[in-house]
Amino acid sequence: MIWMTWRQHRKQALFTVIGLTVLAALMVPTGLAMRNTMASTGLDECVRLALDSEKCNTASRQFSNEYSSLAFVGILFVILPLLIGLFWGAPLVAREVEHGTHRLVWTQGVSRRQWALVKVGFVGGATVAAAVVYGLGLSWWMTPLSHAGLSSRFSVLLFDMQGLVPVGYTFFAVALGIFAGAIWPKVLPAMAFTLVGFVGIRVALTVLARPNYLPASTRTYPVFGLASAPERDKYDWILAVGVRNPDGTLVVPNGTVECNQVVEGPGAPCGSEFGIEAGAYNWQLYQPAGRFWLFQGIETGIFVALAAVLLVLAVRAIRRIA
């Protein structure tokens, strides 16, 4: 069975390895270049010691001028799990049935359950291995970008590209593809189902579930009398900001207002055009940066669990195909 699986999928495996190699050829040099720039401009020193000097700001600006466009290259990786699901998962059962070869292989001396377990095990294992490689590789590549403060690694697309979650997404995409092929054993419909299902579930979980994995923290600071906002970790994931009056009503959604009350000028008092009363405060809802790996773990867990359910259902469905 293992020989058989290898013989059937060696071409796909080869293409996947070539694809990953090409990506590595692209990412390794740029990753090294970013690290060199950080070292030569002294930016890594600024990051490590959390310095906020003129020199550091210049270095940061220089770095972002040079590399901020690269962050968008990383977005390509968001679709990588989907591609693996489409080209590894969906045809696994569907192509056998479309070519009628399931009637050849399932009437040899191997039970369908064993066939399914070996196939799913081999393909699932290979894709998870590939996902680990590019997940870790991408985390390494993204580190300078997020350290330079271009964006929080907790923000939506960056969170999805690094760490553990690519492994969860890839495993889920492959399981969804296998499931779709077992339920609807035709290659193209199975691929379409995988595409729609994967995007749908990913978007739904990202938008609806992820902000609520743990209750968000709130931070408040007064509108009046403070020179600037209090220290905060720039890697926090800010979910919402606003200005609230002392009774709690939100007067300025999606904005912050800071007034220096010491300076009494002519005209209306600061912030009165928004209806801000005395004692109003700025309000922030956020997930602390320290929860990054916890959230990675939760999200990966959800997708792995979904994948496991889909695989069990797929193996059951396989026993009903004739």
């Binding site: 069975m1 020989w3 058989m4 013989r7 059937q8 070519h99 009628g100 070869t101 009637r103 050849l104 292989v105 399932w106 009437t107 040899q108 001396g109 191997v110 039970s111 369908r112 359950r113 026993r319 009903r320 004739a322």
Partner: protein, 296 residues
Amino acid sequence: MDIVVETDRLGKRYGRTWALQECSLHLPAGRVAALVGPNGAGKSTLLHLAVGLLRPDAGTVRVFDSAPYDNTTVLAEIGFVAQDTPLYRDFTAAELITMGAKLNRRWDAALARRRLAQLGIPPDRAVGTLSGGQRAQVALALALAKRPRLLLLDEPVARLDPLARREFLQSLMGSVAESGTTVLLSSHLLADLERVCDYLIVLHASRVQLAGGVDELVAEHKQLVGPRHGNDPVAGVAAVLRASHTDRQSTLLVRTNANIDDPRWTVHEVTLEDLILAYLAEGETQSSHEAWGVPA
């Protein structure tokens, strides 16, 4: 006499339509049986039930005295060639033989190689590039290499040209004659079956119309030619399958249960083909008239 395949009121349903219904038959060991019926009669369904690809919705099917569904013990005894002889098209013939060796406990790779060498089939070309006849031969060689006690073939020659068809059936008969394998072969090409089969199962409209040894069936059925016949019974006739009349004369295809001594009737032997066609014509077409909303 050993029974290899036995079904009892076997039925299989797809959605609301029954592909096979109330199918009771038995296939004795050592026979080469033809499973005959028009397209959609349930031939493939019956074979898939016998090889354990499908689970029955009603009744039972037993092969070598066990239920074949998802049963690898029974599967080891069955060689199966599915419709259109599916093969992994990017595998070479030699790789397919290796595949069989990996997936089966009992596997006679030498037998498969010998057969394919005799037929001049190249071992190192992807089977997708071979002709239909060659692919069918590869599929048959794979089925035979299991050294099966039962060989199930689903329309193996339907797509072949007459020459390839004859070669295929000849090589099939040659190898099963040596090993004493029981064969169940579905087809709608009657002339081919007449040459090779000694047992007949006629399936029509998802039911078994006729089953038995070819010699017995042919001996049992007669064509009677005689004076214009009403509906009065003829001594020795169990059932009239087909009757055609001219002004003075009637021709009847009948199943007999005794010798026909009535001097008014001339008795002719029937061919297998006549017999099969008579039974196939019996099936009803009523439901389709209703579905189309036209009078029958």
